[in-house]
């Protein structure tokens, strides 16, 4: 059966991974290639890298940068940031990206989505839409001009999918970096409009918020940026917690935490002394590929 994906989103600001809060504040995290190497070895399902400073500075995410970060990335890698034409796409795909993410083009240049889909297949193009909620209505957020876009959300996602986008990445700006959990209502609304896979991003606090999202909506993936960076084996632990009540999560890394207990914050509890004693003389072979 097709699994729900757990995706790590790495926003890049001037070359380094940052933690983003409300699309306004950015805190430095570190080097992208190191984050990717760890996330990959912890069993992430997919990695999204978006250069959020590119478009503003009239730049495009660079193929050399992608080539470097792709070296130890053995999961699908989607990249975005200031992509303007097929030439940019070609360079990125050749450097090891599997998909490209377009954001500005969804609003201002849908022709590019069609061209990418025609040349590389629609599975190759992810349309990213930033959404901001004002009380009961969700609006499309124009990130570049920092204001609400004039067309409504339904219309924008329909245009994007009709143009050829294979997947939709929906960022809830009002939940970005807030740890308030995903905007369930928003994702249910989007999933009812489109048939392509929807990737939900914004507001993840821990594995419980992901469980909430995956159990209550039809989205294909739960994305998180911030919380994966803050503790060791964050991906293995989160996926083990999720898989306890669901068979929709892929857990096939050598290290998993299916037998471990966690506290209310999603942190691992210490195992009992007897269990630890028994582990003492247990020989665990290294997995050789």
């Amino acid at each position: 059966m097709l699994k729900k994906r757990i995706i790590a989103v790495l926003p890049i600001f001037n070359g380094i991974v940052v933690q983003s809060i409300g699309f306004k504040k950015y805190l430095p995290v570190g080097k992208a290639e190191i984050a990717i190497e760890f996330l990959n070895s912890w069993g992430i399902d997919e990695i999204v890298v978006v250069d959020i400073s590119a478009r503003k500075n009239n730049l495009t995410i660079q193929p050399v940068f992608v080539k470097m970060i792709a070296q130890k990335c053995f999961v699908p890698l989607a990249v975005g940031g200031g992509i303007n034409n097929l030439n940019d796409v070609d360079g990125l795909i050749r450097s090891g990206a599997d998909k490209v993410i377009v954001n500005n083009s969804v609003l201002f240049n849908t022709q590019l989505i069609t061209e990418i889909a025609k040349n590389y297949g629609d599975q190759c193009v992810v349309a990213s839409v930033d959404v901001i909620r004002e009380k009961y209505t969700c609006h499309v957020f124009d990130y570049l001009n920092h204001k609400i876009y004039y067309k409504n959300l339904d219309e924008v996602v329909k245009i994007a999918t009709e143009a050829g986008a294979g997947e939709l990445l929906i960022n809830a700006v009002h939940r970005d970096g807030s740890y308030l959990g995903y905007d369930i209502e928003l994702y249910n609304k989007i999933c009812n409009i489109v048939t392509v896979p929807v990737l939900a991003c914004g507001g993840a606090k821990n594995a419980d918020s992901m469980a909430d999202l995956l159990n209550n909506t039809k989205v294909s993936a739960a994305c998180a940026g911030n919380f994966f960076h803050f503790f060791e084996h964050s991906v293995n632990i989160s996926k083990s917690i999720l898989s306890k009540n669901s068979d929709q999560i892929r857990v096939d890394m050598a290290v998993n935490y299916k037998e471990s207990d966690v506290d209310m914050y999603g942190r691992l509890n210490k195992k009992s002394d007897i269990t630890l004693d028994n582990l003492l003389y247990l020989k665990i072979e290294k997995e050789i590929i």
Binding site: K3, P76, L77, S95, D98, N119, A221, R250, I289
Partner: protein, 211 residues
């Protein structure tokens, strides 16, 4: 073993770099090339692929690589692994955006996935495969391994004996094919983490005796 030369055929649309990363991670020497002499002198060939069938096959033909591969694979029996569109091109023809002839190494057609409720197309994500033939591709794989799929069309071979693994996605889809020295996978082993690395390792180990 270190002298084994592996060549990734570069015909302009494949994600050659990702495949090369995986194989060199395993410690093999790998070249990405469209040069006839380099391809001919390699022991093992890999035909990657991303994107539309028509663009892929046209690129392969216009670079003269289709003829070269026919010669190497059919006459000289060089082991080859096709990935995604690289595997689909081994079919007789494809129905993707019209009717396009393939290399016709394994008879059959590339057809569109049925769109059903709960099974959106494209089929994107990690899915569990069921292997039928284990050697060489799945000799190291665990039971119910997950692999990463990303496609809208799939290869339906005329002879079902050529299917070495399948996957369920509202219908039975060919996940891997095999016929003599020709292997192909619909999923992306270069993007399937440990399982993908294991597949490359077992493919290369398995075909080494012929190389």
């Amino acid at each position: 073993m270190n002298k084994l030369s592996i060549c990734i055929v570069d015909y302009g649309v494949g994600n050659t770099h990702s495949v090369a990363n995986s194989i060199s991670y395993l410690g093999y020497k790998v070249k990405i090339s469209n040069q006839f002499n380099i391809i001919s002198n390699s022991d093992v060939l890999i035909l990657p692929g991303v994107g539309a069938f028509e663009v892929a096959i046209n690129n392969l033909r216009s670079a003269g690589l289709a003829e070269l591969l026919n010669e190497l694979v059919l006459k000289k029996q060089k082991p080859i692994l096709g990935i995604c569109v690289g595997m689909q091109m081994m079919a007789g023809y494809s129905e993707e955006n019209g009717h396009h002839n393939g290399l016709n190494w394994i008879p059959g057609a590339v057809v569109k996935l049925l769109e059903k409720d709960g099974f959106p197309v494209p089929h994107v994500g990690w899915n569990t495969i069921n292997s039928i033939i284990f050697d060489p591709l799945f000799s190291k794989a665990n039971i119910n391994s997950h692999f990463y799929f990303d496609h809208s069309y799939y290869f339906s071979p005329a002879n079902q004996d050529h299917v070495s693994a399948f996957v369920n996605y509202g219908q039975k889809i060919t996940a891997a094919i095999q016929f003599e020295n020709i292997c192909g996978v619909q999923f992306h082993p270069e993007k399937s983490q440990t399982n993908g690395l294991k597949l490359f390792r077992s493919f290369i180990n398995g075909v080494i005796q012929y190389a």
